[in-house]
């Protein structure tokens, strides 16, 4: 339990540093920013207590909010993703799999894992940019941000998963 706790903390710090120091400065075509910290929610194991997942995800989002001055936006979106993640895992997990299954291309199969990533990242980007813009003043840009950020985030996550499973 405590090992898991420490691992989560280290993972959060690494994602936070990567996001705020590196990825936030990337802005392809003026709107595609990789939001890698969603990856935290994607790696939650099956069978993890749902309330704990929610708290961890909220904490991750809150930290990102603090560092990027978007109060509550990432926290609300991360909590939503943390809430939906267990149900989406059930959709894609193979039938006769272990109870503490960790979602990855290795356990899910690559095409299923890609779909799983796309769904959750899309939900995240949609809530994040909707809350951030709030009024649909510039809906062209709003849609562009959602689509572009989803694509770049999914690609980044798949690349990272590829290297992790190779080891």
């Amino acid at each position: 339990m405590s090992l898991n706790f420490l691992r989560n903390i280290v993972f959060i710090i690494v994602l936070l540093l990567a996001q705020t120091l590196l990825l936030n400065h990337i802005s392809v075509f003026g709107c595609a920013t990789p939001l890698l910290y969603v990856y935290f929610a994607l790696t939650v194991q099956r069978g993890e207590a749902k309330w704990a997942t929610l708290l961890w995800c909220f904490f991750m989002g809150l930290l990102v909010d603090i560092f990027t001055n978007t109060p509550g936006v990432a926290a609300a979106s991360m909590t939503l993703v943390g809430f939906l993640q267990p149900y989406v895992v059930e959709l894609f997990a193979p039938r006769d799999s272990a109870d503490d299954l960790r979602p990855s291309p290795f356990t899910f199969g690559s095409s299923k894992y890609t779909n799983y990533t796309i769904i959750l990242v899309l939900i995240y980007c949609f809530t994040f940019f909707s809350l951030e813009a709030f009024n649909l003043y510039n809906w062209g840009q709003w849609i562009a941000c959602i689509v572009a950020s989803t694509i770049i985030t999914v690609v980044l996550i798949l690349v990272i998963e590829y290297f992790r499973s190779k080891r």
Partner: protein, 286 residues
Amino acid sequence: MRNLLDFLSRHNHWFVFLLLEVVSLTLLFKYNSYQGSVWFSSANAVAGKMYEWDSSVKQYFALTEVNRQLTDRNIYLEREVEMLREQVKKSNNDTTLVERLQQNIMRDYETIPAKVVSSSLDKANNFITIDKGSADGVRKDMGVVCGQGIVGIVYLCNEHYSVVIPVLNEQSNISCTIRGRGYFGYLRWHGGSPETAYVEDIPRHAHFRLGDFIVTSGYSSVFPPGIIVGRIKHVYNSENGLSYRLNIALSTDFSRLRDVSVINDREMDKKLELLRAAEDSIKARQ
């Protein structure tokens, strides 16, 4: 009763979910009015320190470019001052006038040099964090400028860090004027390119040309008059057709902002006090 308890314990994560969402949305909507929210911004000590380290590394690589820009600007200003001095001497034979004017301009204002430790460009509401706070004399609502022009207004202060609302924020609203022509308008930004912004509420009878400089008006006492904002690129009609809406190219390059100055107007408190007294006396009369 037992069924109810059973139900609650089975679905406890629903309540955690709702609670966390409520907390998040409270943060989102109360941020503007809640003073303690400085802890939930990049002005808190940990986030500020981290961004400071980050920018102190990056700063090194930008030094040459910044130096070149400052030298260019210096040469340009020197020449302008020289030209104006000649003009003034010609027109009223007083050689000390310029010196006296210069002293007058800066007498009421004091500048606090600061470094940008984090900033964003691509959001609808961008913020800048600087490495000076209330311990260095920075207060809420002070103006922030850089060598190239206007930057924004201080929004939140911690002891050693502050968050600035730059021009690139939909809530930014700075009074400015067309240099040499005297018409007033408000500087607004509506997302999109970090290089352009709009000046709204310029009256229909105003005369000006494309390429004219936009400068601060000095009305708000946040900025001294005459700080450069940008140049007019296009002119549009406002939506109700009652005024002009100027599309301007901002003179400040927000993507490479490093060194800024916070402007402390010593007279600001007195001006505000006077304004408040005037409002009170009107209310008393009604």
